[in-house]
């Protein structure tokens, strides 16, 4: 069989990669970048877990420890989680899924990548010249007046990367509105697109607020304008309001794409249409909307008024409802399906379990009197790692395996992929479940040293982290191996629906030989479904 020309083989000069406007190649550029950032952030986490094996703080100094957790947070949030699914899988899949030639603004897409790299390099530079010790939250007046670290450089990096987010969001919104194939109505869109649409709306509306906030921090620090400085009539709490006005919706930027991926996976490997499609679709929009009105739940003990506390607690319970709806619908989708357990499905099931635990622990934090006790403890650390690592990273790996044949034209080794999925699940729980217990016992977060009675749980957590580190490194090897030695993939190895599977793997540069037309609802497995089910 002669190898058809595809986007990977078209022109392989470095120049053609760095100046590409092909969404698929931009996605690959993002893959490489965020993988590097993931392992840098992971290395910081490894050192943190190693330090916390003993209560005395004997591995590194307090200043180094503070820089490590700040770097871990900043890198993982802005240079891995936020771009993870949208910029890589989204970039690659969105145009294919809607039957388009490319995103609406291909050059803007490449610009996003360069902005992302510029922001990332600036932040890395800040780390290499001495680091930043404010935590990823940059609370004032510590960040503006008291910190002796490279705050301005670090916020500049995040500021620049923010524009990359905004442009990506804008690109997706316009693409989904304008470039859908004939017949692909809104209610025929795969749920991955609904999720990315909701994500993009948040990216466009919330990120500018972060940019303004960080700019004010930089100005306050460099020129002493005093916006957040109480001795000049400023207000340090104002910073928290502005910061969380972005950063809580940012949590949904990080989880909504994961929910989208999981909807695809559950449907594909259950050979069934998603139960309650419209409810799942609109719940993504509801999360994006209501998510803008819950930021104050980060501030129940910060000195905001009791009334504000009540309102934000109430809204936080409300925003949990659409997430619950999704979980129930995914479960109902499996009812009377033909379920197979390829690695992506294992990741999807892992996602549901871990996300649900993360979400339920969120109720403890939304609940005012209990939050007063566990906020700023390890309970919060465990909670958001269940959502972002247990949820988002698991979904990212699920999506990566699912679309791997499409992206590379090769099948990944199933045995290894399943082993990694299972190892990640157990390593993750062993790392982060003990942190719930630490929180309930009252152990504060961001502590370099700690009272000895907490040690046993820290040792357990660190042991889990070493398993998790191996588990996260595994895909690097077997996916890397499959690039060269993996079995060649057909156009539709999963026998599933969706336009992206109707073009060869890997797709040609222009995506489709003939422009596709859509006549059916998504996840229509009535013809295809059983075929694979009976083969298996």
């Amino acid at each position: 069989m002669s190898e058809a020309r595809n986007y990977l083989t078209e022109d392989n000069s470095i120049r053609s990669w760095l100046l590409t406007t092909d969404h698929k190649r931009v996605a690959i550029l993002y893959f490489i970048a965020i993988t590097v950032f993931f392992f840098i952030g992971g290395a910081a986490a490894a050192l943190i877990r190693l330090e916390l094996l003993t209560p005395q703080g004997d591995l590194v100094t307090s200043d180094t420890y503070n820089r490590l957790f700040s770097m871990h947070g900043i890198i993982m949030v802005w240079f891995f989680l936020i771009p993870s699914i949208p910029s890589t899988l989204g970039n690659f899949i969105v145009p294919l899924m809607i039957g388009a030639r490319d995103l609406a603004f291909p050059r803007l897409n490449l610009t996003s990548w360069y902005l992302f790299i510029a922001g990332g390099l600036t932040t890395l530079y800040a780390i290499f010249v001495g680091g930043v010790d404010t935590g990823w939250t940059f609370y004032t007046p510590f960040s503006t007046i008291y910190s002796n670290s490279h705050v301005v450089l670090a916020v500049t990096g995040v500021f620049i990367a923010g524009f990359s987010s905004i442009l990506t969001g804008l690109n997706f919104i316009v693409t989904i509105h304008r470039l859908r194939a004939p017949g692909l109505t809104w209610y025929r869109l795969p749920l991955f697109l609904w999720s990315l649409y909701a994500t993009s709306v948040i990216l466009v509306l919330a990120t500018p607020v972060l940019a303004i906030t960080l700019l004010l921090v930089a100005l306050d620090r460099a020129f002493g304008i005093g916006i957040f400085d109480p001795s000049r009539g400023g207000d340090p709490l104002l910073f928290q309001h502005l910061f969380w006005f972005y950063s809580h919706p940012a949590v949904y930027i990080m989880i909504l794409p994961g929910m989208g991926v999981v909807s695809e996976l559950i449907a594909c490997y259950s050979r069934k249409a998603i139960f309650g499609y419209k409810f799942v679709a609109w719940s993504a929009i509801a999360i994006a909307g209501v998510g803008f009105f819950v930021w104050g739940h980060h501030m129940f003990v910060s000195g905001q008024s009791a009334f504000a506390g009540l309102v934000f607690s109430f809204m936080s319970f409300i925003v949990a409802v659409p997430s619950a709806i999704k979980v129930f619908n995914w479960t109902a989708t499996m009812h009377k399906g033909w379920i197979s357990y390829d690695a992506p499905m294992l990741y999807a099931l892992g996602f549901i379990g871990l996300f649900t635990v993360g979400g339920l622990s969120g109720l403890f934090l939304a609940c005012l009197a209990y939050d007063v006790y566990v906020t700023d403890t390890y309970f919060v650390v465990a909670h958001f790692h269940y959502i972002m690592v247990g949820g988002m990273v698991t979904a990212y790996f699920g999506g990566l395996h699912y679309w791997w044949p499409k992206i590379t034209g090769r099948l990944y080794p199933e045995y290894w992929a399943r082993a990694a999925a299972i190892l990640i699940f157990f390593g993750f729980n062993m790392t982060f479940f003990p942190q719930f217990i630490l929180g309930v016992l009252g152990m504060p977060r961001r502590y370099h040293t700690y009272p000895p009675e907490f040690q046993i749980w820290h040792v357990m957590s660190s042991t889990g982290a070493s398993i998790l580190a191996v588990a996260y490194a595994l895909p690097l090897f077997y996916l890397g191996w499959s690039l060269f030695f993996g079995q060649r993939a057909s156009a539709n190895p999963w026998q599933t629906t969706g336009l992206e599977w109707q073009t060869p793997s890997p797709p040609p540069t222009h995506n489709f030989e003939t422009p596709p037309e859509v006549k059916r609802k998504p996840y229509d497995f009535t013809t295809k479904g059983k075929a694979r089910a009976q083969n298996a």
Binding site: G57, S62, D63, N66, T137, Y139, P141, F142, I145, Y146, S231, G233, F279, V301, S302, G303, G309, S313, F314, F317, I318, A320, V321, A324, I325, V327, N329, T331, M334, H335, K336, G337, W338, I339, S340, Y341, I352, T356, L360, L363, F364, A366, C367, L368, A369, Y370, V372, Y373, T375, D376, T377, V440, L441, G442, P444, R445, R446, Y447, T449, P451
Partner: protein, 319 residues
Amino acid sequence: MNNWIEHANPLVPSGETAHAGSVDLLFDGLLASALLVLLLLFFLLLRFAIHYRVGNTNADRDHRIQKSWRLETAWTAATLVAFLALFVWGARLYLNLYDAPAGAETIYVIGKQWMWQVQHLGGQREINELHVAADHTVRLIMSSQDVIHSFFVPAFRVKRDVLPGTSEEIWFRPRKPGVFHLFCAEYCGTDHSRMTGRIVVMPQPDFAQWLVRQDVDGTLAAQGASLFRQFGCGGCHGSGATVRSPPLEGLYGKRVPLADGTTQIADERYLRDSILRPRAQIVAGYEPLMPSFEGKISEEEIIKIVAYLKSLGGEGAKP
């Protein structure tokens, strides 16, 4: 009252106040709801995952549920109702924290990088320790000299951020003697993890003796009175003043009419704000003449002067 909770929850450090007992009960409620949902979900997931696996061709897959809106409405409504109940439960307890019982003993706390400084009304000072009497309500008035800190006592299940430029309050009533952790819970720089201390709860007679044993240069109010003279406050606020200024005698706890038409209760926060930012809240009928003392006066000095002003009598002040 909630004594049994301590035994019901071997995991949690025992709650040492009535409020802590209620918080633990809330935890049990939250945990029970979460486990219920989790067990139901995992049961269904496992059951479907096993029963409807591809290999089981015998499973009945006919008559799939087509219309979903009934189920959707049912589980959305059930979730909403459960969430509302939890919201109300947590909110009622939270409002408790804003409502210190009358007759509480006031103690001042200053957070600074990286220590807790405590000032008793009698003039006793402590660093990283706070001695209190069992079965007595304590009300802390807290401010920060630099960055944001957070006063966290796990055994009492209370926590409150301590901010620069304003004062925050927290209260508790320990049930029995003991020694408990005090943590700073808001990241505050290099030695954040060493900004810890002890809360020492003593039987009332022991506590009274402890107070007497400390070296004291006069009560907090007496120290405040001398600062009042030192800063020249008497020049305008004293009896022989040439400038017309609001009277300070009996001010504490009173409603003060402001120039903008609103009224403000003269509590601790109002008094300190008036020293630091006198032009923000002008008393009705007076010229805005007072200069700001921002940057000229330390947190400790503010506390002493406020204690002195409170000692001048007023509806909320204790003799």
